[in-house]
């Protein structure tokens, strides 16, 4: 038993960059927030890692952790997919939400987990996102959301589509309350999530190289005359086309978010 653990530990000490294929020393890789030191590729983060890397230490308090997906359509293989998603991500759903401090400002924060069924938005994701905005409006707190999603969750049928409307409506509540909403597009931010709450933020940041787009690449190419540009449906493409304010390397995300909070919030909002 002891021996097997040692071998595993050894294997786990090394990791390969998904882009340049270089072998990286895992502790360095993790310290570098999973950004490849050679090619700069931003590897995906777990939702929980993301939040812990972003907020002030020991300030994250999860909310709505009790919400669990149902299978209202009795959709083929959905129950199984949910189990697999939970096992793969270590989470119960494709988003984690809560309250935290960032740079001394109290915030509502959410992070999606692509590992849980491709970060797809079903009833639970929709509900948690809507509650973030409502809570922000009620408590007069800013909302920061890290997006990572393939789109709506097919397995909940029309219920999933409705989450686009529900989350969009909730953005309106926060907006009328005059509170800031900042979205960060991480790899990937697509389809039903991009076409609802994600695109409605006051300021939109994105990580370098993240896939960001509406339809799948194949569908887009089929529907178009001529070849899509090389950077089609990347954060860089969307930035060129005016849909993203800034491409921000992972390391600079925290100070950038803190600056935005400082700009948008009154001084009283800063914790003494």
């Amino acid at each position: 038993m002891q021996r097997r653990a040692a071998v595993q530990a050894n294997a786990e000490q090394w990791v390969q960059c998904a882009k340049c294929k270089k072998i990286l020393f895992r502790p360095d890789f993790e310290r570098g927030m999973r950004v490849c030191p050679h090619c700069g590729h931003h590897h995906r983060l777990r939702a929980r890692e993301r939040i812990l890397l972003t907020v002030d230490p020991d300030t994250f308090r999860e909310t709505d952790a009790d919400l669990r997906p149902a299978d209202p359509l009795n959709f083929p293989d959905y129950a199984e997919k949910l189990q697999k998603g939970a096992a793969a991500s270590g989470e119960n759903e494709a988003i984690i939400t809560g309250t935290a401090m960032l740079g001394g400002y109290e915030i509502i924060i959410g992070a999606m987990d692509f590992g849980f069924m491709g970060g797809s938005m079903g009833s639970v994701v929709g509900e948690k996102v809507a509650r973030c905005f409502e809570r922000g409006a009620e408590r007069r707190l800013p909302v920061i959301l890290f997006c990572a999603s393939g789109g709506a969750r097919m397995q909940e049928g029309l219920l999933s589509l409705m989450q686009m409307a529900k989350t969009t409506a909730a953005v309106g509540k926060l907006h009328r309350a005059g509170m800031p909403y900042i979205a960060v597009f991480t790899d990937p931010t697509m389809a039903g999530v991009l076409a609802s709450f994600a695109s409605l933020a006051d300021v939109i940041l994105a990580e370098p190289g993240a896939m960001v787009g509406f339809a799948g690449q194949r569908v887009a190419a089929q529907a178009s005359v001529g070849k899509p540009p090389a950077n089609f449906q990347t954060a860089e493409f969307q930035h060129e086309h005016g849909m993203i304010d800034l491409i921000v390397p992972r390391k600079q995300l925290r100070p950038t978010l803190a600056y935005l909070l400082e700009m948008f919030l009154p001084e009283e909002a800063h914790a003494r």
Binding site: D66, L67, R68, P69, A70, P72, L73, F75, P76, D77, G122, S123, V124, G126, E127, A130, A152, R153, M154, E156, G157, L158, L159, S160, L161, M162, Q163, M164, A165, K166, T168, A169, G172, K173, A191, G192, L194, A195, S196, F197, A198, S199, L200, G213, F214, A215, G216, V219, A220, A221, A223, S224, G226, P228, P229, F232, F237, H241, G242, M243
Partner: protein
Amino acid sequence: MMTIFDFEKPINELESAIAELRQLATEKGLDRSREIAELEAQRERLLKQIFAHLRPWDKVLLARHPKRPYALDYIRLMCEQFLELHGDRLGFDDPAIVGGLAKLGGYKLVVIGQQKGRDLKERQKRNFAMAKPEGYRKAMRLFRLAEKFRLPVLTLVDTPAADPGVESESRGISEAIAQSMRTMFELTVPTVAVIIGEGGSGGAIALAAANRVLMLEHAIYSVIPPEGCAAILYRDPNKAPQAADALKLTAESALELGLIDLVIPEPLGAAHRDPQTTALSVRSAVLQQLDELSQMEPDALREHRYQRFRRIGVYEAV
């Protein structure tokens, strides 16, 4: 172009026979009324029989039927007057979405619809009712016009999907869909959406964030086209009929799930067999909604719409 679906074949055969007999009777001056009446009764029985047992996939085919009435057909048949307005004021005018100022019953309103083309040329011009960002931005402009002049809004939804092409992506199709919903949620006038044909995912809900959402009996409303779902679920787009079952995309299912407010019945044999009657049904259903919604105060309308969508979702709390 004629498209006859499998389940429609026997009906169409009977209809051809009736038409022939009628012509014969006219040409030769013979009295064939008894035979005609018999065939018509037969047709009626057959229609009832077939339409009593439509599977979801049949509904998909009916919703996409090339003879199905389109948005401008309904507008023409339902409204006393209509003036189409054009343009998003940002550089584009998308023919896939039409909109304008209409009179309907006692109401003056803004009507917006997704418009398919009847022939090949119009179909291409209308891009098969797949709207580009400018289509939704034109809709938004008209929503704001409605808000300014306190006009109720009626949307007629009929699209396979929003346009997924490179051009649309480069002009922010996702943002346009999101903003269109957002603008609808901000309105303080009554809004009614009717899914008249295909309610295709984001492209559809962009125009369906209304106080009341109605569906025609044989319309569909789905988060993903059944073909796409089958490709993912069964790795085989030909299994779209099974996917259609799984997706619960019929009006009946949507009503059961509490996602729409009313199913508007279609004439026997579906809307394309009698557009006039269908349009009148839509008209009276819409008027009833407007009568009810007009009783509400502006802010209450907005909050009603918010709550209508806010409560949607099925999940457990442990």
